[in-house]
Subunit: 238 residues, 2 copies
């Protein structure tokens, strides 16, 4: 007799406030026997794990999966395969697995690597994504400003971009979002200054978490010690 | 004796599935005496009103607000002022008002006009935004593809853009999202064909609603009769 396999649900846990999960995500999370998430660094719990902690049910199996912060393709591929195997262990027995990650589940999310590796290895695997609140939306809500209005064109650049990319984006976009800006902040600040955009630039650290910090004008902030989850929003044109 | 004024909460109702509201949005919605939303066209209920309908509590006052679909600045300004006055009527009596709109509350949302008009007219008004799931995230979750991975640059263009904007975006962005694409679909299709991008183009009508329709390859779809809420995603570079 063939057991029907379980479903892998990828659920966006939102930006940090546990109440910013969706009702659907929470329902699926709480009924799932297995809750997987990206493992934290060292002994620290992962971000998504912290976000969903208040919602976990007694008896749920917690499954930390390693997604190393490296560029080495061989190491990444091996880690993704291992994560897929850990998840498949339960799915193949007919158990559902929920994988949570911070923010949205399709927006620069480790879930993509897990889902794609699993589906390449086990083409019959059933995968379903449940969207979550991503940090740009959370950051502007905290700032009390719109992200976009009317016909504004929005550009979002992730952590790894060149100065040229930023210059180009400032000519093409009406609103610009830089994700995880901490490592390049001083450079970015200098370019925004050149373009006269510092007063229309906003920065949010750890949006929606208790440690949230907001800067609504960057004119006097040429250097800032920022945490990894920092986001910069520039209203290039109103 | 001075009454403390109420708070205006702007809450993103998400893309359509009522379960894609956040836990926080739902809690604030259900405890608010007044629930406002953009009025529908004619006698039809508005989209946000339909999304939250299953969650409404007995005795809640429903407050449809007019946001006319026109370009005329004078008419718009007058409508926004009237909406602000209707909301202030309750806030000034110390009652909270929840305003829901579809998608996220800061992303091309009518809430911006309401909040800005209210705060310009009544600088003491207390306004708080609660983010919601926006349609691009919902669309890719339905498609089962990531929106962005690694260092991909994302560009989002609203309904009103020129062909030049689209051409430029295809050179600058790795992933391109066109919101509300229905009125310009045939033109867009021709440009995507020129660039050899039709196989990497995806279209979702009414994401997460029961009437959701998905097209995962647009090669054979030079013309489509699309509803207003249609979204196009192009993976320009992998």
């Amino acid at each position: 007799m063939q057991t029907q396999t379980g479903t892998l649900y990828g659920i966006g846990a939102g930006p940090g406030d546990p109440e910013l999960m969706t009702v659907k995500g929470l329902r699926l999370l709480q009924r799932s026997p297995i809750v997987a998430f990206p493992a934290g660094l060292g002994d620290a719990p992962g971000i998504a794990q912290q976000i969903v902690a208040p919602w976990l049910q007694p008896g749920q199996i917690q499954l930390p999966l390693e997604f190393p912060y490296v560029q080495d393709e061989a190491r990444l591929t091996a880690a993704w395969q291992q994560a897929a195997e850990k998840v498949w262990f339960y799915l193949s027995q007919g158990q559902d697995v929920v994988f949570v990650s911070e923010g949205d589940i399709s927006f620069y999310s480790t879930f993509t690597y897990l889902a794609q590796t699993l589906q390449a290895w086990q083409p019959g695997a059933i995968v379903q994504a449940v969207p979550g609140i991503c940090s740009p939306m959370a950051a502007v809500a905290a700032l009390g400003i719109p992200l976009t209005v009317r016909a504004q064109r929005l550009m979002i650049l992730p952590a790894l971009y060149s100065v040229t990319d930023l210059e180009t984006a400032l000519t093409q976009a009406d609103v610009l979002v830089l994700m995880k800006v901490s490592s390049v902040y001083a450079q970015v600040w200098a370019i925004l200054k050149q373009h006269g955009l510092l007063q229309q630039s906003y920065l949010v650290e750890r949006a929606t978490l208790p440690q949230q910090v907001i800067y609504a004008d960057l004119s006097d902030r040429p250097s800032l010690q920022l945490p990894y989850f920092s986001i910069l929003v520039v209203t290039v044109r109103g």
